[in-house]
Amino acid sequence: MLEIKNLHARIAEDETEILRGIDLTVKAGEVHAIMGPNGSGKSTLSYILAGKDDYEVTEGEILFNGVNLLELEPDERAAAGMFLAFQYPIEIPGVATMEFLKTAMNAQRKARGEDTLSIPDFMKRVKDAAAHLNVSMDMLKRPLNVGFSGGEKKRAEILQMSLLEPKLCVLDETDSGLDIDALRIVSDGVNKLRSPERAMVVITHYQRLLDHIVPDVVHVLSRGRIVKTGDKSLALELEKNGYADYVDAAA
């Protein structure tokens, strides 16, 4: 599904190198966790996958189901099945949440040559997904993410993910700012989407999320490189010993 080969990337503005040779292969049906200290480049990697132009790829390539991802615009990537749940979902005043959902769903359908959703069909999908994620209709009546609490924003991201039915879900610190109950709701929402056709990359700083969303593979990212790969026991080890070993190893 996703093949990242020797990816080097820098900040476009000041040319600071952030990613320094990442190799990562994720197959359909797998869940990969990426853990690592703050500032190691986790969000940068997720933004590059989604197509943010603040970053410049200087070396390497990314294949998404065989297609050169770096040649696609962000909206083309989304229509091809890429979804990023943002670490910091953005508030967009003046854009109604429902209108946004409808526009996004139909834009992707159109790009894939599918029919526009009928209003009743759309409403039903939103209501079902919202009920599972404990998202109130009142929240959906507000402008996109405006006045949502941290936890509400994260739930809204997963709601969007459920509705857009992507092939690859990249979750950037979806657990941060969630209390135990919200963490369970969000994890259940994510687990519901696990399927043999879908892959997930779960970025997190803490092991706690991985008790709920159990990964097949765990990677440690440090200073822009994957410095260790293992199974879920690696996450437990990190929880106990911290990142100190890996920070030094990468230096």
Binding site: A50, V95, A107
Partner: protein, 439 residues
């Protein structure tokens, strides 16, 4: 500079003087009206069209813009006017009454005269007022003085217009559209008077359709809002006219009155929407909104003077401008608070969204406060589309052009929503989309 030296007239000014001399006999009005017309054209001859050294026209140099002046449009052919009306509807699907002014003249046969009469609304040809005794008493001018160049240009050439009166306590059930139609090229110059008696309520739409060619459009609306009355008016200046669009409102508000207006400008080469609002009774409220969109070489000017001459009145001014290409946006807003106008509450905000680097916004909010117990504030911002917002929308699969449209609509809809006249929202949003798709 008191005694001004004679100026050298421009081609357009020469044309206007010739236009006046040629049409003098056809222009309606009693002797005092004719004298006012003469004085007005004299002002154009002696001081010229308004230009950038006149403070109020600093950013909108009409004198430089008008290279020539076309003749007045000929009397309208009713069938031709009907065709234009059928081809263009700014608020399609909206249930409303309609009043038609074609080539500067009120057209009773195209207007909903009888249904309006049944609602307590009477219509009169403005020329009848001008031709009556003391016709000139019907020629309102801004309280700040009769010298405004746009109003002078109007006074000189008024072809006609409508006088609409809503009877005491009458609440007109449907919006009323006053539509200016050009069925032939040429200048269209109109005066209209909208009178709301005590406690009356009216929702007005002002639209301008058809092609005036090189002729300017100059319309002045005089709103008289009596005690306890409510007037909401939406003015739509859209379309790619190549000649000047000059619109003026002069509102006089009694006590406990409400006046709401939204001036919408989109895709017009040179548009000035100027509003003069005067509070003459206590406990009244004025809410003035503006939405401008300009691209290419367009100029969109929203100018506003609110005079708080009496205590305990509120005004709110909220203006939004979107600029692209090398367009220029102008917001000049002044709130005057007289010494005894205590407890005035005034809040003015102007915000611009610049879609290109060459576009330019002149924001000039001003407060002139001579009372001490007032609450007045103003603010101005200019910015670009937030790239992070754009990326978020695109990351969800929304193509760039559509994402930009959503963000521009979001920016403008703040003003449209606060204006709160829901029957116009859909029509205005459609005009925003039109502009974004076509400019």
């Amino acid at each position: 500079m008191n005694a001004s030296a004679p100026i050298k007239n421009t081609q357009a000014e020469d044309d206007l003087i010739a236009r006046f001399d040629a049409g003098r006999d056809q222009l309606a009005g009693s002797a005092d009206v004719s004298a006012r017309r003469e004085a007005a054209v004299g002002q154009i001859r002696d001081r010229g069209l308004p230009h950038r050294r006149v403070e109020e026209y600093k950013y909108s140099d009409l004198r430089a813009f008008m290279k020539s002046a076309a003749p007045l449009a000929p009397k309208a052919d009713v069938a031709a006017a009907r065709d234009v009306l059928q081809a263009t509807d700014c608020f399609s699907g909206l249930d409303r009454y309609r009043i038609v002014i074609a080539n500067g003249d009120f057209q009773p046969e195209l207007s909903d005269v009888e249904p309006l009469a049944a609602e307590g609304v009477s219509l009169t040809d403005f020329n009848e007022l001008l031709s009556g005794p003391d016709g000139a008493t019907n020629l309102a001018f801004p309280k700040t003085g009769p010298q405004d160049g746009t109003v002078a240009l109007n006074t000189a050439f008024i072809q006609g217009g409508v006088a609409l009166s809503v009877g005491e306590g009458k609440v007109v059930t449907k919006p009323v559209e006053v539509v200016h139609v050009a069925s032939a090229e040429g200048a269209a110059v109109t005066r209209s008077r909208i009178d709301l008696a005590k406690g009356a309520q009216l929702r007005l739409l002002e639209t301008f359709i058809g092609d005036t060619g090189d002729g300017e459009l100059n319309a002045v609306f005089d709103y008289q809002v009596a005690d306890g009355a409510t007037l909401a008016t939406t003015r739509l200046v859209v379309g790619n006219a190549r000649s000047a669009r000059l619109l003026t409102s002069i509102a006089t508000l009694g006590a406990d009155a409400t006046f709401k207006s939204l001036g919408f400008i989109a895709g017009t080469r040179f548009a000035r929407n100027q509003q003069f609002v005067n509070f003459t009774g206590e406990n009244s409220e004025a809410k003035i909104y503006g939405v401008s969109m300009a691209g290419g070489e367009d100029l969109a000017d929203q100018t506003l003077i609110v005079d708080h001459a009496v205590p305990h009145c509120n005004s709110r001014e909220f203006f939004k401008t979107v600029l692209d290409g090398r367009a220029k946006g102008v917001y000049q807003g002044r709130i005057n608070v007289a010494p005894h106008a205590q407890k005035t509450d005034g809040e003015m905000m102007t915000q611009a969204l610049l879609l290109s680097e060459e576009a330019e916004m002149a924001n000039k909010p001003e407060l002139e406060i001579f009372a001490d117990d007032v609450l007045c504030a103003h603010g101005a911002t200019s910015g670009e589309i937030d790239e992070d917002l754009l990326f978020y929308l695109r990351a969800r699969g929304i193509p760039e052009a559509e994402a930009r449209t959503l963000l521009v609509l979001a920016f403008l809809s703040e003003a449209i929503e606060e204006f709160g006249e829901e029957y116009v929202t859909e029509g205005l949003e459609e005009r925003v989309r039109d502009w974004l798709a076509s400019h």
